[in-house]
Symmetry: D2
Subunit: 462 residues, 4 copies
């Protein structure tokens, strides 16, 4: 079996894949690494080959770096996508420019001004990936890890409707852990409950997913949320400034529970993500005010490489640091095995809606549970969302669908409609146009597939 | 034929009705006036009877005031609704309290905090009207003029699904006039074009309706909008403060054309209304900034009776002022005649969706053209709205449906969900709760049908 | 204004058009006649020109015959379609061959084996017409009179989605007449009620339309159907053989009322048509048994030209017969005038579903009322059909959609799926295949657009 | 844990349950048997208790018979339904009376005249069961085995929308076996493939389900159907009369493959069932003609108890026959275990549509795969059916929905609409009425919940 890896020069997920394959005894094959940074891909290839040859490694794998995407994907059985534009030319602007217009975003990679610009950059890239898959490995399973998850996965299907693609994201795992903890605290005979033992019904879109059922064995856990909420109240009670030294990823589930409190379902993504989908958490006079919800903004500086020293891969290769095997908790290899027909896996993933979320449009990429068996992904029907939540979700589904269509047409004015309709863009209409134009201008090199010449919004802003 | 008039003590629409009936020769009957202010209703009855007896009057009508709604509606063929709560106890708060929280509303009677509170007050009142219709005159046609138009009409159908009810609003007339003007200016052989000669395709919800076709005879006028837009540019070019002395109802169609510019369809309501449906016109540091769009805020003081002198009715009755017949331009009597089977009328109106706007939910009250014939209202199929516009409209459709359901359940927490989901409520989540609680508190006397005791949102605010 | 007439050599509708245009004073222009029988078109042109020049003629029109469809339609404002394949090579087989397999059809032009073959012949022809309209007169209004009405109209839209096309059929007129009669008999003050005074709500598909509301002025007439039904009972009470000498078009409304009796809505097409949509009227041991419903079969012989004598046109031209003006009752000229913006018309017509019949698929051609104004057709929202009726209708909607798709693909096997799913095809599965293959074989010359080579159904039959 | 068993006096499924529980080591509890034949239930209870006490039995269970349904279901965790009216008073007529009208049914228990009468009898019975569940064990899982599967399951949800109910049927198992066989014959490395190793995508309604995907591991098997079809051709090639001595349940998959041949998907139920859903297999001059498809009619005599000797239970109890443990292949106990949270099960089952079959109505009971975990059933989204198949399926979905609604209203005339719309009822309309009336008359004792007094169809027939 062959895995083609787009973005294979990464310092993070590539190492996890090497770790997991090296410990997987019952599948073998080759990994073809492709990256715009070819050198990074080559180093990962070298690392991979070294690791699997170690005595304590189980798997029989070879790693190779390719200069051309076509070659990397030729005859692949699986394609992994995990890519990122140079943050200093893109992500940094996505965070910092909106801030100047009064729009603060803790993450800026999914929705809001940052998420929209990232979508606009990603759509042409994912068209190319889909087109290459169609040419080189039409039956391959494409596993996407890149954000904006929904838009990237949707663009694959828009370009190549017969693609076999899924999008994977871990946010819901944390909620299984929360429920495992609830089980241990509230249910008499529940001890040492593992995340995997918790069954939650998930529905919505990536980073704005909702849970309306949770069970351990046949015990309902969702009913304990009311008690748990009372315990946690008052929410939003952290001190201003108290998160100043916390991890950028700190999460106290205050927003998730606040959404449960107000809307009856549990928001099922990190609070940092959740607050970006509705306007009422981020209207802050003082950005530090966000700390009160137990979260913080990730500054753009945190998105830049730390220093000019050797990369993680280089440290592994030089022996400065040992590559030690660990339980990654990552499901990718299990998913490969399921799709190869070895052992079914039930997990949550992003997939075009064919009925799994009633009331959301057919074809829109949604996040639910799914059962993966040999060469097949079957989403689990999750029913519908209550109207008030569906309304919030649909605003973004509509925006994402509009962005993909606009991206395929290269129509910047249409993309700006989605920008205006984003709840975080509650600034004045012409300030919004200025912000949009400034972002487009700064990231122009990554937006070549768009028709910037005739865009009305660029002409009229400023 | 009998007309039951709920709110028959009014100083405005009641006079128009007297005027129009007195000039209508081919229908005759009685008008039963009901008003919580019974004295006002009695005076209007006296006025009506005097006017129709004048020599220059054509119609054969009698007017009578009733103390009980039941009696006023007994065996009515038509029921007219045009009611209003005492502004000093309600409307004034709807405008002024949100302002303290940074939410400015030019009208405050449809959506936004003011529109939502008004909806919450109206729903129980319209339940009662519908229940009385069901008892007293189940086959009558109910013609509603009260705002919030959509919610009032929807509440009638929710209480009594077999009701024959329509909601009438004039906003679109002005757009027919605009197009008549465009015809005269752009089309060679078009001179003295009357409003009625313009055929526009209307779709959306009241005060947030959209036009995507306009014709004079078989000439397309919609295509001239592009030229017209260029002529009018730059939009939003009025001086700050320039509207300080203008009428509260001043309208320069700048927002309507700005929506056309950005979204491709013409917003078809007064700019004062349009700006309340999306967040990006009213995010003003200085409220006077709204003047730049050629409109202004109606202050709450303008909603209060001017002084303690005699009312208009009283001036007519005392002879201080002569009641002179005029062309009202009001369609009500034409509509009565159409529903009696005398002459068909095509007009735009508010009616439950049975397919006239594809893509909006069945049963939601929408605004489109309709053909009225004997005892029948048939909406004209108007097709669907483009996704980006449908998205904006659906946010409010969802909110309106939620409000009606919440009103029938008395569930204040559910109403607050609609409040949070209103685009004007882009303030912080707990400020929103405080604002909501304060408004409920001030208007408590008009919200007795709601369960205020157990409302979580009241308990947690402040 | 220019009218392009496809099938302009006809002996029927062409004469009506000449009659009506010659009496229409306020529109003038030219009529371009095209027919595969060019000589017939030339004779009609000569007749038209002679008639309009008569002193008693009002209109200012010129008629000309064209050898090429392109020329006939060039720059047309209206296109009229009324075409027919030579019956002896087509229609005769549509009637006679199924009879040998035990399937009797009174008309055989809409559904059933005959209707399906006719659809299969018509689809390529209507593709060509639509393509020519797109080339020659993209904004013209196309008025179709040819059966199968639904499939012909649908094929126009499938080929050229922006076409402006409607399909006209008179069947519902007769029901307005029936209700006018009911009004006169049941309603006190109703005398000399004209068809046009009756307002019926129509919904369904051509020849299988349903009425669920009927009014004269504001008086409900639908409610009198129950009494009327009792009066007419027992239905199906005509003597076997009693229709032997009746007109082929005899109609006693027995089936229409039987459908009302069983399903609660009135079937609104001639009984001869209605019985072809469901299997349970035509399962006759003795074909004469159909007489009991007050209708009869039109034999194939009646579809052939009577003799070799001069045609109607020739008789007019030779002076053997005088062309006398008459009230045609035909709406075409009124419809032209409405679409020109002169005077609105409300009538029933066939048009793609955009919501006018809730619960039927978007885009399928349905029959409802519509309002015609300048360059615009707006269907009137008619609501949904009860489930049991919708189920019967949907079987045919699905078949018609399948036939059009199959026709565009040339996929005979797919067309055969529709054939099998037709309720009249309740014969054995392989007899059905034989019948289908035999019909295709006999009409092979008219099915050249289909892939007959690779059709599995042809290979396996017999 | 407690199982309430409605129909617990059965000679078939009750023995299987005893067998399976006696071999299930990790769950224990009691089984409460209820049957209108109380004595039979008592004997099964005695048998059950004896068997589980045997040394070779593993399970810890007690069996008890109850005289009242209420008591049997009180506090049950699971309710099993497997009931049958006395065949001599019902089923026999369902088969024999239609035959006199020319309608032959191989099974007569799902659709067609027999299936409709059985539905009409079952609906009131299932209302009662659902009402008892609501009272006695509202959270229990109800597992239905009774036909008509769809209607019985649907009636449970109609009466008690919060019921947890599924319907189980084995027909699809046989197709997994067929595909296992195909795998062995066509796929190189496939040997001894077990049914459970085959993953098929199932969608439709019970006994009219369709397969459009089949895999062994990650190998597509559906693609081999074309070759397999060629191998099996000519279909319908059995000799007339050749099945005269075959089992009533003989199945050669000829109809399943014929449907595949014509419609592209594999019909996934026994041929005996499949032929009852469309009219074109059973239009036989000579009923023996059905043998040509490799199946036969089950005569009504085969539905009657064979003789007056001791029942199977009695033979076990008397020792005349030994109760020996066997692998039942029945999934019930696995399903109990899954719902208790012990081990997930994926299987196909009948459940209200919440999106699992796109394009079929929400709430209608459909058959698809589902994943069963602790206290949860999640159907697997299966996508939509091709239009031509959906059309055939929808006819029956509509009929089943109509029957349930009619049953809850007691409206016999409405039920007759479904009867007329059944494709097997292709006889004349008044013969259909006579047949319906005669069936109702013969089974009158089981139709007391229906309004037989005012039924128009009874009055007018004969």
């Amino acid at each position: 079996m062959k895995i083609g890896y787009v973005g294979g020069g990464s310092q993070g997920w590539a190492h996890t894949l090497i770790n997991d394959l090296a410990q997987c005894g019952d599948v073998a094959g080759s990994v073809a690494l492709y990256d715009v940074d070819h050198e990074a891909a080559m180093k990962n290839a070298e690392l991979g080959n070294r690791v699997v040859e170690r005595e304590d490694a189980d798997g029989d794998w070879t790693f190779e770096a390719y200069r051309e995407l076509d070659d990397a994907l030729a005859d692949a059985d699986f394609v992994v996508c995990s890519i990122q534009d140079p943050p200093e030319e893109t992500f940094v602007h996505d965070i910092d420019v909106p801030k100047e217009y009064g729009i603060h975003q803790p993450v800026a990679d999914t929705v809001g001004p940052g998420g929209i610009l990232r979508s606009m950059r990603a759509i042409p890239q994912y068209r190319e990936i889909a087109a290459t898959v169609r040419e080189q490995c039409p039956d391959a399973w494409v596993v996407n890890y890149t954000n904006p998850m929904t838009v990237c996965t949707r663009a694959l299907y828009e370009e190549y409707p017969d693609v076999n693609a899924i999008g994977l994201c871990h946010e819901v795992f944390k909620f299984q852990e929360q429920f495992a903890d609830i089980a241990e605290r509230y249910v008499d005979d529940a001890e040492d409950v593992a995340r995997e033992e918790i069954h939650v019904t998930v529905k919505g879109i990536n980073h704005f997913t909702w849970i309306d059922e949770a069970r351990w064995r046949d015990t309902d856990l969702f009913g304990y949320l009311e008690a748990e909420l009372e315990e946690r109240k008052p929410l939003k009670d952290f001190e201003p400034g108290s998160m100043a030294d916390a991890s950028y990823w700190v999460n106290n589930y205050n927003v998730a529970f606040d959404l449960y409190d107000r809307f009856g379902l549990l928001g099922a993504a990190g609070d940092r993500h959740l607050v970006e989908f509705v306007p009422w958490y981020l209207q802050l006079d003082d950005p530090e005010g966000l700390h009160r919800w137990g979260i913080r903004f990730t500054p753009s500086s945190a998105r830049l490489p730390v220093d000019d020293g050797p990369t993680q891969t280089e440290r592994y290769l030089s022996g400065d640091e040992a590559f030690e095997f660990y339980e990654s908790g990552e499901e990718a290899v299990d998913i490969f095995r399921a799709l190869l027909g070895l052992e079914p896996v039930e997990t949550h993933l992003n997939y075009p809606n064919e009925g799994q979320v009633a009331g959301l449009p057919e074809g829109a990429v949604v996040e639910t549970n799914a059962l993966l068996t040999g060469d097949d992904v079957s989403p689990l029907a999750a029913g519908s969302l209550p109207r008030e939540i569906r309304s919030m979700v649909m605003t973004h589904v509509n925006n994402q669908e509009t962005l993909v269509e606009a991206g395929f047409e290269g129509d910047l004015d249409r993309a700006f409609r989605a920008f205006l309709n984003d709840p975080l863009v509650s600034i004045e209409r012409d300030a919004a146009a200025d912000l949009f134009a400034e972002l487009v201008d700064r990231e122009r090199d990554y937006l070549e597939a768009w028709d910037l010449e005739d865009a009305d919004v660029l002409a009229t802003s400023r």
